[in-house]
Subunit: 341 residues, 2 copies
Amino acid sequence: MSGKRKGLGRATVHDVAKLAGVSSITVSRYFKQPDIVSPVLRERISEAVRVLDYLPNHAAGGLASTRGRIVAMVIPNISGPIFANTIQSFSDELSRYGYQLLLASSYFSIEQEERAVRAFLGWSPAALVLTSQYHSEETERLVAKATMPIVETWDYEPARKPLQVGFSHGEVGRQAVEYLHGKGYQRIAFVQNSMVGDLSALDRRDGYIAAMASYGLNPWVFVPTQADPFEAGKQAVNSLLLRKEPAEAIIFANDNLAAGGMLAGQRAGMQFPRDCAIFGFGNYAFSEMLLPSLTTIRPPAKEIGEVAAMRILQALGEIPTDEPVQHLNLLECELIVRESA
Amino acid sequence: MSGKRKGLGRATVHDVAKLAGVSSITVSRYFKQPDIVSPVLRERISEAVRVLDYLPNHAAGGLASTRGRIVAMVIPNISGPIFANTIQSFSDELSRYGYQLLLASSYFSIEQEERAVRAFLGWSPAALVLTSQYHSEETERLVAKATMPIVETWDYEPARKPLQVGFSHGEVGRQAVEYLHGKGYQRIAFVQNSMVGDLSALDRRDGYIAAMASYGLNPWVFVPTQADPFEAGKQAVNSLLLRKEPAEAIIFANDNLAAGGMLAGQRAGMQFPRDCAIFGFGNYAFSEMLLPSLTTIRPPAKEIGEVAAMRILQALGEIPTDEPVQHLNLLECELIVRESA
DNA sequence: TTGTAGGCGTTATCAC
DNA sequence: GTGATAACGCCTACAA
């Protein structure tokens, strides 16, 4: 008798089973644990799968087994010059083990992040990846209650419960000051990110402030009002250099700001680093092509994706926990010295 | 009696229904069509949802309704300077309607693409998005057999069955030649992409060849052997300019190649566009910051994502088909004239 | 407006 | 090694 409801119209395990003359559970085993199915049946099932063009329905499988092969990730943005590398390496590593990536962007909004997390939890992903340690209370609650592995990336705050894979943003600020101070600069300014909600960027600023204080120097933070990074950089240069006692060195919160500031200054007749040292963050693709090429700090974007994926695969039992080379979750940024500072 | 199997341990519609004193289908309706549930029950259900911290299970919902709110996309790469914008705008547009993005990258390999398509079809996505018109036979077969809307992006070949949202790559090659020819250049060379598998890039080359022929000029294609784009660009410049009759203008398959070529030439003492006009493709972020800034063609990356999402939402009945402004699926590239040509 | 019955496609459990 | 049965959590179909 024909059922009352119509499915997708595709072949199911039952169809395959009937054609192969076995029970459906055997077909299921054929896919999950082929070695416990006898060669004869394996051959018959294989043929039936081919004939019927059978594709396993992952939604049904996930429902029945309560664990699907989807991993969800919320990231501030996909198209930015930084996070894309993390997404790419993360996705590549996971797909190697048959996991698919469910992706959403938050644009540094904890409300958007929360919405994405809610939606994702509804898919019962095998794991959930967030960015940074800053979330809404509700997100924290949902995550604490969730049973799958949770990983926070792009930050490192060991005191927190979720697994962290990232680096210390405060350390980045400190490192920049250390380098510039070592080259003899005293009046070192910091240009903050104009992107509201990027709280990790403020950690970098705080690292800068602490480091300056430790050298007995006065912190000097400029906060641009322009949203466009290139405009903001320009604004910063105008404010910090066109004055009686101009900055000797400027640390920009990212390479976009630095590039904008540098080009604005050059148009106004300045030369870098002669008139002022320029220091960025991010090591964007263009940074080595600027004139002068940009001294900056490279965050371990790709490595974060790889290690996060590895930790998840370990937590899921896909790969052994005692890998020969034990990566640490606290990753290093790389100081890239070029011409601008 | 306690069930023999344990689920996720989360509250289900049944739990909510019991607590609210209604049937589970009413809870289901509360989420899908709240307006057909009486205010009294709505209030009771709402309270129960809060108390139990209920989250709908999308896998179960998708299975039951045979249409989940997932859209799958296969794209050559996530972290490249081009496709990220398409992914971003596509994802943003979809998430506005409650659809989530399942993503995989193919690295221009039709085998990897096929693997991703197989995996994705197992999730019965609401729609499937591919890149370009070039796929394996098996992919073509799977796609032809699938019942959900299929969209091909980044290409436009109306003769094909799947919905196309993109632009004509051949036209890009033609447009570059037209521009350079209009400026009086005759010996116009073309530097091919060193990325194997990027067949659309070859369409751009073919457009170049056809356009050259139409002007009575000899096509001159250089194929780099270096994989790294900056190295490949360098190789091209050395080959095309260090000779008796050097190229007067070079069209590079992308901005990376163009930048690499230009920097190599400058290091060898050349000046652009004085010694040779440089023309790129892609309008990468750095292109306007080069010295000289790069004349290039901007592909409608963001627009492709938006229009693809719109077409899918229309096909799914989420938005009306007769939008006030009817976007066309054949999108325009933008010629961006800067200093290098 | 609300409820009952049963199926969506797969897998856990237990029996042979 | 293989199979029967029921359950995963939700929603369609139909009835009231």
